[in-house]
C-alpha cells in the first residue's frame, strides 16, 4: 500500500481515494431515492380524505428541536474531521461522541413525533397523505438509525486502532453520510413541515 504523505490521511492511498469517490456516487443515488419520495409526497400532499391534513398534525416545537439538533450534529462531525486532519484522535472522538448523542436526541424526538401522529389518528393506512408522509420521514429516520450504529462502530475502531489511512478513510465517508442526512432533513423541514404549516 503506497502512502502519499502530501494528502490528508483519508486520501493517502489510491484505494482510499476510490472509496471516497465511490461514496459520493452512492450519495448521488441517495439523492435520487429521496427525490422519488418527495415526488410522491408532493403528489399525495392534499389527498388526505377523511384523515387529518398536514396543517392539523404538524407541531412546530419538535420539528424545530430536530432541525437545530441535526444542524449542530452536522457541525460537530465537521469538527471531528477537522480534528482528525490535525491528528488529534482524542478531540476527534469527543466530537464524534457529541455527534452520536445529538443523533440519538434527534431520533428520540422523531419517535415522540411518530407516537403523536399515531395518537391523532395519522397512521400508514389512514390516507395517501399520511402514508407517504410516514414513508418519507421513516426513510430518513431509518438512515439516521443506521448512521448511529455505523458511528458507534467508527468510534470503537478509532479508539482501538487510532488514526491510520484505513480508519481515517472510514471516518471521512461517515462524515459525508452524516452531512448528507442533514441536507435531506433541511429539505424535509422546508418542503414538508414549513410548507404544510404555512
Amino acid at each position: 500500500m503506497k502512502i502519499d504523505h502530501s494528502q490528508p490521511l483519508e486520501y493517502s492511498t489510491h484505494k482510499n481515494e476510490m472509496n471516497i469517490l465511490g461514496f459520493w456516487i452512492f450519495l448521488g443515488a441517495e439523492i435520487m431515492l429521496f427525490a422519488t419520495l418527495f415526488t410522491s409526497y408532493f403528489i399525495y400532499e392534499n389527498r388526505f380524505g377523511n384523515g387529518p391534513s398536514g396543517a392539523e398534525i404538524f407541531e412546530i416545537t419538535p420539528v424545530l428541536i430536530e432541525t437545530v439538533v441535526l444542524l449542530t450534529s452536522s457541525f460537530t462531525i465537521g469538527l471531528a474531521i477537522n480534528a482528525m486532519r490535525l491528528n488529534r484522535p482524542k478531540a476527534m472522538l469527543w466530537f464524534l461522541g457529541i455527534t452520536l448523542l445529538l443523533g440519538a436526541t434527534f431520533l428520540s424526538v422523531e419517535i415522540y413525533e411518530f407516537v403523536h401522529y399515531y395518537h391523532v389518528g395519522a397512521t400508514l393506512q389512514t390516507s395517501a397523505f399520511t402514508g407517504i408522509l410516514l414513508t418519507t420521514l421513516g426513510t430518513h429516520g431509518a438512515h439516521v438509525t443506521f448512521g448511529l450504529f455505523w458511528g458507534i462502530a467508527i468510534f470503537l475502531q478509532v479508539k482501538k486502532h487510532g488514526l491510520n489511512p484505513e480508519t481515517a478513510n472510514k471516518s471521512f465517508n461517515y462524515s459525508l453520510y452524516w452531512h448528507f442526512l442533514d441536507v435531506m432533513w433541511i429539505f424535509i423541514f422546508s418542503f414538508i413541515y414549513l410548507k404544510g404549516m404555512m
Binding site: E17, W24, M32, I43, G78, N82, A91, S175, L176, L194
Partner: protein, 93 residues
Amino acid sequence: MKELFPIKQVNGFIFSLLLTVVALSVYFMDMSFTAGMTILLVTAFVQAIVQFVLFMHAGESDDKRTIYTTLYYSALIALVTIFGSLLAMVWDM
C-alpha cells in the same frame, strides 16, 4: 483549542442557523404562498450548498470534477423527477 474550531466551519454553522431562522419566517409571518415558497426554495438550496462545499469538502480533492459531475447529475435527475411529475399530475399541464 482554537485550531479545533476553524473559523470557516464556525461561520458556516452560524450561517446555517441564520438560514433556518429566515425559513421559519414563513411560519411566523403572514405571507402569500408564492412568497413563502420562494423563501423556502432559496434557503433550502443555499443551505444544501453550504453543507456540500463547506462541510463535505466537495471541492478539495483531485477528483473534484468527478464529484461535482455526480452531484450535478443526481440533482438534475432529482429535479426532473420532481418537477416532471408535478407538471403531469398536479399542475395539469
